[in-house]
Amino acid sequence: MDALLLLTVANIKSFVRDRAALFWTLAFPLIFVILFGSIFSGGGNDRSIGFADLDGTPASGQLKSAFGGIDGLTLVDGDEADLVARMGTGEVAAVIVVPQGYGEAVSAKAAPAMVTVYTDPSQSQADSATRQLVGFVLSAVNQAVSGQPPAVAPAFESVQTNDLSFISYLVPSILGMSLMQVGVFAAIPLVADRQKLILKRLQATPLRRWQLVGSNVLMRLLIAVLQTVIIVGVGTLLYDVQISGSWPLIGALILLGSLAFIALGYVIASFASTEDAANGMTSAVQFPLMFLSGTFFPIDAMPDALKTVARLLPLTYLGDGLRQVMVDGTPFVPLWVCFAVLAAWLVVCFGIAARFFKWQ
């Protein structure tokens, strides 16, 4: 037990003192989350709305400043046709058109002044949020014009719908990807230690093989926990991702997924005889996994041929499972299938590694 503990500590020290490994393991997923987060989280709170003022009176100016005063809302000026075209490219989420005569209509109070609002119903979440936003502003303006104190002061909040925002999709996906990397990267120090004859030297001591493997696995699991904390932390603090599932279930999935990919790392180490070969094989395994397992976009959106490939890859099931238990994601397969497939990968990889892994 003492040996297992000291060997685990030795592994951790070796890992932490290798700056490059430390950077790639901890900073790489963080960069992914922040990069994608800042690109895509705009769809959540920050939005641009086109504002075509065809009236040009103080009243329309008042309306404009009412919209402009809302946090997270940027008004883009332009003419009506141009702004509607820009909505098509996603540059603006909606377009508000204030027709000529708006100012007169407001001061006459004869009939309600009309404004036109273009929204995009294909962006269902953004659409409903925009409609609500415009409704709030207009009712506030109405009250201001009528001189009555507002009966209800609208409080603007981000509108949560059941659809996953892209960042909520991404956080569990990137966690899955990172756990995959922590696992398969187990191959590299293992092959390096074999090449340096460290494994052979250990073989000349009473240290048991399970202690050696156990210390490796313990260290990798520790990194997995650290990555979970970092990725989930950044996701929730910076991008408001809500983790809705039960932590024991999340933990169980993380544990099983990590073990399956560590076993895959041992399979790589069984067939790579040099550190360079191990590096090459790790890349050859991790990149297809990264891009074909639904990490960056849903598998349902993939062509059928790639969908078939995705069905074979273990990361598909870890990512899908994590999205299901962490952010209530739409299942690709039932959760129990995720657990079963990962368990099967673990058993098969363990068997192959036990059969082919060489210590010298």
Binding site: L6, R17, I198, K200, R201, A204, P206
Partner: protein, 312 residues
């Protein structure tokens, strides 16, 4: 499977050991015994099969055939029974590069139920100034010293040292010799390999000379030399006018040899031969330059056995 070793039992008993790699017979029928409390040397050039032999004894390689008993343990069947009781220094020091000297020692110490304190080993191997240095920053000699320290971490009965002084400067080599002699004086047994003649002469109670996977000759240093060379050599720079017939007829001379402009007279009677050489050169009005006596060495034994020098 383990039996207590008494003074009479050899700590190592190898018979007809064979280890082949494809066509290469790395070890080709090796048989020897090592007495308890002694230092035994495997001496031979690179590729002789020393490392292969030692690593079979350590339980790290499985031989094709042969019988191996170390500390009474059948190593081929029960390698795990042996491991707590032996100390091993591999030919190339295998060290975790990012760990410090003390960290590596503490780590290896934790693999064993008993052992020596790290501080003691650090002092013994003269590594006190390098305690907190990462092993990747040690010199070749320091790495080798740490490797030997690791072999002693469990206070073993039997220590295997594979080329322990390779890469060391002469001072470090001598201090390692002291360590080995110290182990012996504590009653431990040591099996070491080397291709340094002097090292084998200084340290080893018995030596096996290996080449091409076989043991050519085995015995104490004196035995090995006297078995082959009954005479010593009187040598001097060759003198024109002294014929080989004249030299061969001198008293005591058994044979003669020319080597690099030197004459070597192998003789059973050194004073008589020297007297005759002085007389003969005086008659020619000359004085023999660089006159001296050479005792045959292990190098000569090896040369005589294989027809080539040990180190090339």
């Amino acid at each position: 499977m383990t039996s207590p070793t008494t003074g009479a039992d050899p700590v190592i008993r190898v018979s007809d050991l064979q280890k082949h790699y494809g066509e290469t017979r790395a070890v080709d029928g090796v048989t020897f015994e090592v007495a308890a409390g002694s230092v035994f040397g495997l001496l031979g050039p690179n590729g002789a099969g020393k490392t292969t032999t030692v690593e079979v004894l350590e339980g790290l390689r499985t031989p094709n055939s042969g019988e191996v008993r170390v500390l009474g343990v059948d190593v081929i069947r029960h390698p795990d029974a042996l491991k707590p009781r032996i100390g091993v220094s591999l030919q190339n020091a295998a060290l975790y590069p990012k760990l410090t000297v003390v960290e590596v020692l503490d780590l290896f110490r934790s693999f064993y139920p008993t052992g020596r304190p790290t501080d003691e080993l650090v002092a013994l191997m003269d590594l006190s100034e390098k305690r907190t240095t990462r092993t990747q920053d040690l010199s070749g000699g320091q790495r080798q010293r740490l490797s030997v320290a690791l072999a002693l971490v469990n206070d073993p009965e039997l220590v295997f040292l594979d080329e322990p002084t390779t890469g060391m400067d002469p001072a470090a080599r001598r201090s390692l010799w002291d360590v080995v002699l110290g182990l012996k004086s504590e009653g431990r047994s040591v099996l070491l390999t080397t291709h340094y003649m002097e090292e084998a002469e200084v340290l080893c109670d018995r030596i096996a000379i290996m080449d091409h996977g076989r043991i050519l000759e085995e015995g104490t240093v004196d035995e090995l030399i006297s078995r082959r060379f009954h005479e010593r050599a009187v040598r001097f720079d060759a003198i024109d006018g002294l014929s080989d017939e004249q030299l061969a007829a001198m008293p005591g001379v058994a044979s003669l040899k020319h080597e690099d402009g030197e004459v070597l007279l192998y003789t059973g009677d050194v004073p008589a031969t020297i007297g005759a050489v002085l007389d003969a050169s005086e008659a020619l009005g000359m004085e023999p330059a660089n006159l001296g006596v050479r005792k045959p060495t292990l190098e000569d034994v090896f040369l005589d056995l294989t027809g080539r020098a040990l180190r090339d």
